[in-house]
Structures are given as structure tokens and as C-alpha cells.
Symmetry: D3
């Protein structure tokens, strides 16, 4: 697939998906909404990459929603019978949410590398990533409050699990900017870097670390951490045991022992590609 | 779309999806797995029908899975690294489950009209329908137990909500046939009819009743009954209130008053068709 | 308090709350909405009765909502800013739901004795009662579907726990009448009686049975059955044990032994009245 | 282990655990509380039986708790600091509940064959079995209400999942006897038989059916039906897929095909015995 | 209403509720328990304020429960039948919990401004506020442990969602004082200020920021953050979409664009006042 | 019981359980897996200690699993029918998880004092403790990722509740070492100490603080904090009220008042020992 709002590459088992409309502040336009889930899902399905870096270009990570999309009455209309419009609006919100859900549901980790402003829909998006890293000049802003609406694509659902409740609420109610330094202190980002280049280098190093590990073990970690957020510890332990009954086999562990003995990296098999069932006809 | 394992029609706002391979006992072959979710989703998306009848042909509703599908090593392989095969198998099960989940997630009711045997995958399928009706010679059988495996496409997840737990367990553990009469007594089917024709006529009459009612009101009922099964009453009441804040507007009610005054059927607007977001450009 | 839509009495530890507007088909008018929760709560708070019979007068139990209430724009208005109207509508639904929730949250059982039609809001109401009994000519109807709206006061949240899912859905989608006989077969009512008088006599006998038992034991039963519907068995067992640590003391059991030895009814202490905290100053 | 309150046998892969104190109405005395969970767990751990019949002797299945146990102040004391006694009482209830939980948590089905009275603790017990069968003269009674206390060992937690809510509540509030016939109508028992012998013969036949099927497939069914009762359908489907990734392998299915071709019963491998981890040293 | 334990004011859409018994260390006496929920609910119902500051007077925010309230046997009595006293005690705890629940359930944010000691019931109370701010000399103490009891009004239920689990447990088990500085580090308070005046000024500035934003958007944020804490992300996203179907209309957004163009603050409509249903007659 | 992998002592109501195989880096060998849950449970059952310190010896807290245990085919075998091996593997994982669950389920707090490396299974273990303290040279490592497997004994289920999600995921995906200082910043440990001795002294002081408080109050705190992690705030408040109805009695509070008046420590009664029900025969 050809991408217009994104640049997509895979190298050394590391995929990078980059927002590439810096002149438009990487706003989320129609192309973006179509391409992001496609790109992420294809990378996962191909099983050639073991980790995804979600990056951007220019001064700001993203200014969020391209409001022009919503101003176009073809895209969102509240005309006609109001009940049916509401039913339509509900589905539109669910569809847009699904765009970011894919970051969470793919089998491989997604690392967001954030420079400058991460605004509105940008916060919804990076809240669904596995880990966040940023530059010193980065800032986060729940812009929706400033625009007279309630953020509806994940910020209010996922961010409360990432930062302390009190800060979460102040940021949501005021639309205030959260600085990079404070974002690290409260646990939103794992690390802050001096500039865009040093951040990308550091994130690539973390990605390289991940890419050398068993993709099956990593996929298990991601599934379990996702699951644990939403279930009781007892349910999560039980799910772990069922999972492990299928996924744990000693082959990968043997490879790590052999590799250590030979001072090399273990050569793990990739996950199976994802195909529609019975697609081979 | 052209269908091979199904016949699909829409008439008077009633869609009918019919399994049409009676000579093969309407087993679920590759075509079936591809076509069923497509057909159901398209009917919902088009918003021309307000109810779906899921029917079949020949002596038996369905004999369930076409085992040839699974015997083909291209379709399911447990070769290679066993952990990765297990990960692949898990996803295959989720994908096949999704086929039947669509009966539950569409906005309009699905009425299953069952003649003769409803076996194995057939039980998984009709458990996901809204209502079940059958002929006197119908029977239900959790065949998977007989084949040395655990049913995995919904029977053990949905049927316990449809019939008493004790009967559920006996049927699952023994693979015994459940007769039409007993199926009605324990609540699995709403009504039993003498033969295939009388059943279809009766089900079409119920479908016609549904098709005259406000599709928005019906969609709300389906969403709420689905939701209530899986949530506490308090959560469900709260969800109802949020839903109603958008969906309840007095227009449809006014139409019923006007229609009653004029002794006609009210002429309700259809639900909006479902389209990918922003697809109109 | 003086009641206008209801008659309220307490005799021999049995309270009876009777809808008393038979000429208006006992529709739920403004008085009803104000008085029902007040009456039920006061009976519980006083702790003089150990069980409540919810009955009605005339040919029909209730025709449901008095639509005039909603036609009055003072009571429900969707004018002005639509978002704020929706917020207001949501709260109205929650407030009306709370009217029926009280039947569930009081400490003592509520037995509904239903003659003739139990329609629309009537189904929402009796679904929140502990037990339902009816006359041969009784019928139940989810009328809201017929009026172009989704029932929103509990029918779709509680009734699916009372009757088989398939019947639940057919009744909701079609607005069809459910007969007394079929209501018993599918578990909605415990018993059907020839006429209003024989029903009331029978229900009073059941109420008398309840009123002779320890009100603390009964309150525990009600709390636990409510709780079990909405929680896992493991959570419910755990809650039971915590409850019992406070509520189980052998005094009531000793009284039953003593009474049996003397061939009398045990003389149990009433529950404490419910008062606002610290209100006695 | 030697049993005093029970008789335990295993024959043809069918275990039978029989209450053997008919002269004492099979009340649950100290021996019973110690022996039942031990017996059930050992049968499961040994993996020699594929199903358990829980039966009794004499005129009545069981009269429930031997109250002498509780009258002994050594067994239950509410002396001393009341808070600490309450903490102790809570744990006692949890411990007694655990006795019956084991019927649910073992890997193989438990079929209860009930003659005459099944009273008090008997209802708690059979509610935790997989299936219930009874004689024509059987009856069920939530006796605790009659004794001035709230049943606390599972009746109020599991029975509401087995019978309609309205009947559940009437039985709990009144302590009324539920007849065999009505028990079948409302789904509590699967079948009613003329007398004790015919019941045992029939239940043994069902057990024999179960014992010929793959014990791994049956164990999966039991785990899934247990799980589905307490979780959403979506969670249950997801758990099923994880389970199947480990447990589904085509060997057992192949055996059913081969057996059918040769007109014999398939010869399935038993489940592994349960041992403490690393116990073999 | 006249308040005795509180001072209540509304200015510029900012309400302030101030504990005004500094000489009694602002302990929670009878007046407090009656007045706090009334005051908070009335402010919400009136819809004249868009945010509430919860403040105090004197050297300490509050010393928690006025123990004299509980020493008075009229207020809490464990005399008489112990089971019934326990039932009464349970309800008393629920009633007192409800006092603080109201801080969470009102539609508008509550900002707690804490000077000096915040002790015992004070921690229960501020844990239910949206955001916490404090002075340098502030400290927090789960005093109940020191008094030989388990905190029961929310501290153990809400504080674990506000601070790391390990700190939560140490504070609960030891009753140790948590300093202002450490409280900020672990996320309990958003900011620490040199003294009472500078804190109140800063909190008023934050409140002013909130008060300029759309009250409907803010109410949506509060509802969603509350909801997300207690539900899975998937349930929360789904609830968000239903909510938005009713609450999102572009009017408020248009006002923000217009205001920005004119360099003014947007003039949003207030939320509707909360009235009992049908109360206007 | 004699312990080989552990040293167990109780002094001044403080129990200490110490890993005592420093030459083997305190790896978790067969003895460890048998002894740890036994030791912890016995301390709780005896009710002579009010708090447990979990400590270790030598340079490193623990290097995690003794891999020799798993290399022994007697302990874990994936031979034979793969489905049955998977069922066996699932139970093994559940059994090993149960070893650490006991740290959470005992009534008294467990304080982990960690020096040097806390690796693999060590992280699973200390995640189940109530509080964690460490030395400056301590570090934490989710070693399983490095060994090609998914950690399955609690790390992925409990650690996400202890530290920010973003850090959790990076640590799990990379197997990176987490330093003591960063562990404190992100809330994993409560405090960092210069060396092993100063840590143990400080932890003993905290334990002494706990041991002077009412063991019933502390047990209530632990139960509630455990419960709140896995349930909604509303469910948790409700559970609190039921608990308190049994456990709250003013005796302990009176003792604190009396002790304060006399400037002594209150002399609280111990919790009742835990015995099998009816064990006194």
C-alpha cells in the first residue's frame, strides 16, 4: 500500500511509522485516519518486524485532529432525524477509537517518540502506545477541553491508567500544557532527551533490544499487561496459565542458553503471519 | 457480492440468509466461513432490512463444520515450533468465533429457523442468534464432544445463558441429542412448528411484526439486551440512560400516535447506513 | 404522608401498596412517580412490616406510563442547546429508574400480584420485584416498542435475568403480549390463579409465611440474591462470609428451636429502623 | 484414606461417592466435612475416574448440617472479643464453602442423584454439582430460613443461576419445599425417576456416556461452562481461544474417526494425575 | 440553607466550601455530616458554579472525625441483638460513605486545598475530590489505624488509585504522616505551595481556568474519568461513544472558534439545574 | 517444620523469613517452592506475629528460578499427548503462582527487604509483597524475557499495579535492569537505604510500628487494599461496610484511648489462630 500521511519502513526487524506532514503540523487528516490502522496492522500481519516506532517530523509531533475533516458536512452530519444522527455519531466515535485501539491490539510493542507538541488526538494516540519517550521541548495538551468538547478517542479512558488521577483531572479540566520534565516525573514518558535526533537514536536502541528477544515471549508480555489492566489479578493469573499451556515450550529458552554459550544473539523464529482463515484458496 | 454457500434476499425490509448446500448437509465449508459474516454485515450496513431470518434447506439445518476444511494442512497446521503454532491456533479460533459474533453485533435482530439436525458448529451459530424457532423433527447436538474436542466457537459461552445450567452440562458432556420439544421446554427455542414450511411462515410473520416497528427502537433493545447479559444491572441502567440521551427523541413516538389515529402503520425512517468513516471522499 | 395514586396499609407485619386509579387503568402519573418510592422506602425504614405486596385495582394492573406526563413540555423538554438537553434527559431517565430500583434495594421482599394487563412501565416495575404472581387473564407487554421507543426503566436490564433470552428478545422486538400461562412456563411468574381474589389470598399466604421468619435472615437472603446476579460466584461467596461475620449470631436460631419445642411461632426482633445518621439529636 | 461418612468406589472409570449414614438422615457431621473434599479431590487427582456420581442412602438424600457440630462451643465460638470472633466466623464460613467449591473446581463432572429430602446444606451442596437428577418423592428445602439464619454455603450464590429468579426468591424467603416435578419444570433437575434404583441406573448410564468421551474434551467443557457463568461472553470466548491453543491437538479427534471406522469406542489417554509440584523427589 | 460547620460562597462561577471551625481543628461533627453533602449537592443542582474549591481554616485542614459523635450512644449503639446491631452498623457506614461519594458524583470538579494536617476522615474526604493541592506544612495521616480501627469511609478504596500501592500500604499499616513534598512526589497532590494564601490564590486560578471552559465538556471529562477507574478500557470507550451521541453537538466548539476570532472568552450555556422529576407542579 | 532454603524466626511479634542460600544466589530450588508457602501460612495461622519481613542473605536477594528444577524431566515434561501435557503445564503454572499468592492472602503485612539483584522469579515474588524496600545497590530485572519466555508467576499481573505502565512495558520487553533509585522514583520501593544492615534496621522499625497496632485493624486494611485493586470503588465501599459490621467493635479504640492516657502502648488481643474447621477432635 502507498501511504500519503505516513512514511513506513522496516529495517532490522524494527518498523518505523512516521507522520510526514510537518508543514501541516502533522494534523490527522482523512489520509491519516485511513492509513494508520492499515499500516500498523500490516506490519503485525507480516511478522517481519518485532517492534514499531511511532515517530513524527518537524517541530511538533501532531496538532491533533484536522478540524477541516469535521467541518465537512459529508463527514459528520447531525441533520435529519436527531435519534438516527445520534446513532450514526456513536458509530463514528467507535470507528475513530478503533484506529487507535489497533496500537494496543497488535502483537508487537509500539514505542512513541514525541517531539514538540502532542496535542488533542495526539494524546489519544500515544496513550494507546506501549511506551512514550520525548524531547525536552515536548508538551502534551488535552486540547479538546479548549475546543468545548470532551475528548472521546481514548485519552479519558487510557491516560488515567498512565498518570496519577489528580494530574489527569487537572489536565483534562484545564487543557493545560504538560511539560516533558513533569511528564517524566508523573510516569507518562519513560525518558526525556535533549533533541529529536538523540531521542530517535535512543528509542531505536530500545527497539533493537526488543527486536533481539523472542517475539513470542514479547507478544505474551504485551497480551498479559493489556489484560491485567482490565481484569482482576486472579483472573489475570488464570489467563496467564491458560496462555502458557499453549505458548510455553522450551525451544526458545534452549536457544538463549546456546547463544549465551557461543556469545551470540539467539536466532528466534518469527511469529506466524496473520492471514484470514482459510485464505489460501 | 456473489454467494455460493448462501442465498441472500431482502424483501419488505426482511432479509433472509439461507444455507443452500442441502446435499452436503449444509456443512460449514470454506465458502460458508467467508460468506456468512460478509452477508450479515452487508445487510446491516445497507440498512434496507430491519430483521434477518437465518434459515437453511433440505432435511437438516446444518451438520456443522466441514471437517475437510480442517483436515487440509494448509488451513490448520500444528507443524513447526509448537509455541508459535499455538499462537497461530489461538488466532484461528478467535477468527472463527468472530464469524458468529457478527450475528450478535449487528444492529438488527437475527431469527434462526431450524429444521432437522442442528449439529456442532450449528449450535455455536444459532446460540448467537437473537431467537430460535424449530420444526418438530429438529434436534440439537454438541457434536464436538463426540469428536474428542471441546466446542470452541461460542456454544460453551452463549448456550449457558440460554438454557438451564444442568441441561447445558449434560448436553455438553454427553453430546446427546436435544429434541425440539425439550428445547422449547427449557427455553432454547421460542416455538416448535409441525414442518419446515409452517415454521418459515410463522417466522416470517414474526419478522414482519418486527419490520413494522421503529428500527431505532429495535436496535436499542438489541444493544441493551446484549449489554445486560454481560454487565451488572446498575451498569446496564446507567448505559441505558446514556444511550437514551442521544437516541430518544419524540419523533418516532409521534409517528405511532399519528398512525394509530389514521389506522395505518407508521412510516419510520431507516437507520443510517454504516460506512467507513470519511469514506465518501 | 398522604397518598393519592396509592393505597398503603400495614397489617400483621405485611404491607400492601396498591395502585388505586382503576378508572385511569392505574397509569403512572405524576403522583405515582412521587409516591411509589416514598411509600416503599418508608415501609422499609419503619421496620414494622416484613414483606410488601405490590397490588393493583380494577381490570388491569397498570397500563404503564401516563403519556400526558411526558407530553407536558414542563416535564420533559428537548428545547434549547441539544447537548445540555441530552444531559438533562439522561438524568431524568436515571431518576425514573431510581423509582423502581427502590423495590430492589429495600431490605424486605416485594411480591407483585398482577391482574389483567401489565404494560410498558408496568413490566419495568414488576421486573424489579422479588416475585411475581398473576391471574389467568393477566398478560405482559413491552409496550415501548409499539410506541417507537426503547424501554428504558429496567425492562431490558432486569427481565433478561428472569426469562429465557430468546423469549426476552421476541417480546422486546415485537411488543407481543405474553399470556399468564406462558409467563409461568418461562419462569416470569411463580404461579397463576383463577382470579384477582384467589390471587391476593394466595399471595397474602405467602407473605404471611415470610412474615413469620427472621427478618434479618430474610434481609440477608434478599441482599445475597441481588448481589449474586451481578457478581461472580466467588465474589458472592466472599461477600456472604463477610456479611455473615456481622449478621450471624445464634440468637434467632435458638428462638426457632425454642418455638418448635413449644409448638409456637418464634418471636423475632424487628430490624432496626433506618434513620439518617445522627438524626436523633 | 478410610472414610466414615462416605462410601467411595471407582469402577469402569466412574466414581461414586455415597453418603452412608441413612439412620442419621445423612446429616453433615464432622466426618462429612473432612471427608467430602478429600474424597472428591483424590478422585480428581488420581485421574482414574472420568465422572463422579454423588449419591446417598436411605429415605432422604441429606437433612443438611448436623446441628450438633455447631452447638459444640469448641467448633464455633462467639466468645471473647467480638471483632476477633467475627474474623474467625468469616473464615469458618469460607472454609465450609470451600468444601462444596471442590465439586465445581475438579476437572471431571459431578452428577448428583437425589432421593427424598435434600435439605439445607444439601441444597448448598447439589447446587455446586454439574447436574442434578432426582426421584419422584424428592424435594428441596432451603431450611436455613426456617432456622432463623441466612444460608451461607452457596445456595444463595449458585442456585439463582440454576432456576428462575422469582422461584429462587420465594424458596429462599419461605423455606418452602420444592417438589421433584416442579424442580424439573424450572430446570433444577434434568430428569425425575420413579424410584431410587431406576434413578441410579439412569444416572450410571449418563455417567457411562461421559466416561467414554475424551476426558480432556470434557474437562474443557466443564472449565468453560464454569468460566462463562462468571464472565462476559467476550472474555469467555477469549479464554476459550487461549485454552484451545494448548489443549486442542487432533490426536483425540483422529481416535474418534478410527474408532467409528472400526465400530469400537475410542481409547483415550487419561488426564495426567495431579501432584504437588516437584513432589516426585 | 444556613450552614454552621461550613461557609459556602459562589463567585464568578466558582463555589467555595470552607470548613470553618478552626478552633475545633475542623473536626467532623454532626453539623458537618449533615451539611457537607447538602452544600455540595445544592451547588451542583443550582448549576451556577462550574467548579468547587473545598478549603478549610486555621492551622489544620481537619483533624477528622469528631469522636464525640461516636461516643454518644444515641448515634452508634451496639446494644441489643448483635446481628441487628451489625445490620444497623453496616448501614451507618454506608450512609457516612455517601457523604463523601457526593464529591465524586457531582457534575463539576472539586479541588481540595489543604493546609496543615489532613487526618483520618480528612483523608477519606480528599481522596474523593478531583484534585488535591497543599501547603508546604501540610501532612496526611490515616489516623484510624492509630485508633485501633480500619478506615472505612473511602481511604482504603480510593487512595490506592491515587498513590503507589507500596506507599499506600505502609501509610495504612503504620498510620505514619505523609509530608507535603512526598505527597507531591507520589502523585497525591498536584502542587505544593509555600503557605495558605498562595495556595488559595493558585487554586482559585486553576478554578478560574476551569470555569471558563464548557461546563458540558468538563462534566463529560469528570464522568469519563470516574467511569474509567472502575471499568475496562473497552467498556469505557463504548460508554464514551454512547455519551457522546447525546452530548456532543458542535455549538460549543463553534463558540470557541468565534471567541478566539474575537479574542474573548466563549460564553457557554450553563448545564440545566437538577430538579426532582416532574417537580414543577 | 524444619526449613532448608529458609530461616524463619519470630521475635516481638515480628516474623522474619530469610532466604539462606547465598552461595547459590538464593535461587528458588525445590526446597524453596515447598517451604515458602508453608512458612508464610504457618506464621499467619499461629497468629503470634503481626507482620512478616521477607529478607535474604549475601550479595543478591535472589537470582530467581533454579533452572535445574525445570531441566529435570521429572519435574516438567512435555512428552506424551501434547494436549494432556498442556493441561498439566497449566496446572503447574497455577501451583507455582499459588506459592506467591500466599504473600497476598495472609492476614498480616509482608515487607520485602531487597539487597542486590532481584531477578526473574524474585520480581514475581516481591510484587506480591505489601511493601518493598531496598539497598542502593539493588536492581530489578524481568529476566524471563532474556530467557526467551514470558514471566508467568505474577510479575505481569501485579507489577503493572505498582509502577507506571510505560516503565512496566519497557522493563518487560527489554529485560533491562531497574536501579534502586529509579525504582523509588517510580513507586516500586518505598525507600532506598545505603546498605543491607541499615535497610534491615529501618524495615524492622517499620515492622515494629505495625506490630504495635491492632492486628484486626491491620488485617482489615490489607484485605481492603487487596480488594480495592480488583473491584470498583462502589463494590469496595460496599464490601467495607459489610466487613465493618462484623469486625468493628469499639474495644480496640477504647484501648488506644486508655493507653494514650497512660502513655503506654495498647495491649491488643491477637487474631484467632487459623485451624481447619472442627479440627479439635
Amino acid at each position: 500500500m502507498e501511504y500519503r500521511a505516513l512514511t513506513v519502513s522496516i529495517e532490522n526487524k524494527i518498523a518505523q511509522v512516521t507522520l510526514n506532514r510537518p508543514d501541516a503540523l502533522n494534523t490527522m487528516n482523512l489520509d491519516f485516519w485511513k492509513e494508520l490502522p492499515t499500516a500498523i496492522r500490516e506490519i503485525d500481519a507480516d511478522a517481519r518486524a518485532r517492534v514499531i516506532i511511532l515517530a513524527s517530523t518537524g517541530r511538533h509531533f501532531t496538532a491533533g485532529m484536522d478540524l477541516g475533516v469535521f467541518m465537512n458536512p459529508k463527514n459528520i452530519s447531525l441533520q435529519g432525524d436527531p435519534g438516527r444522527s445520534a446513532e450514526n455519531l456513536r458509530r463514528l466515535v467507535l470507528q475513530l477509537q478503533a484506529t487507535f485501539n489497533v496500537l494496543e491490539s497488535v502483537r508487537i510493542p509500539v514505542l512513541a517518540a514525541i517531539q514538540g507538541g502532542c496535542i488533542g488526538g495526539g494524546v489519544d494516540m500515544v496513550s494507546a502506545a506501549d511506551c512514550r519517550y520525548c524531547t525536552e521541548d515536548a508538551f502534551f495538551c488535552i486540547k479538546e477541553t479548549d475546543l468545548g468538547m470532551t475528548a472521546d478517542l481514548g485519552t479519558l479512558q487510557r491516560l488515567p491508567h498512565l498518570i496519577p488521577q489528580g494530574m489527569m483531572r487537572e489536565l483534562a479540566y484545564t487543557g493545560a500544557k504538560l511539560s516533558a520534565q513533569r511528564a517524566k516525573e508523573i510516569g507518562l514518558v519513560n525518558e526525556v532527551y535533549p533533541d529529536h535526533d538523540s531521542m530517535l537514536n535512543a528509542v531505536r536502541k530500545i527497539a533493537a533490544d526488543i527486536s533481539k528477544r523472542s517475539p513470542l515471549a514479547i507478544a505474551g508480555c504485551k497480551e498479559m499487561i493489556n489484560y491485567s489492566r482490565d481484569h482482576s489479578v486472579q483472573d489475570s493469573l488464570n489467563y496467564m496459565a491458560a496462555w502458557q499451556s499453549g505458548m510455553f515450550r522450551p525451544e526458545d529458552m534452549m536457544k538463549t542458553f546456546a547463544a549465551k554459550a557461543q556469545n551470540t544473539d539467539p536466532d528466534f523464529e518469527e511469529l506466524h503471519p496473520i492471514r484470514p482463515p482459510f485464505s489460501q484458496e
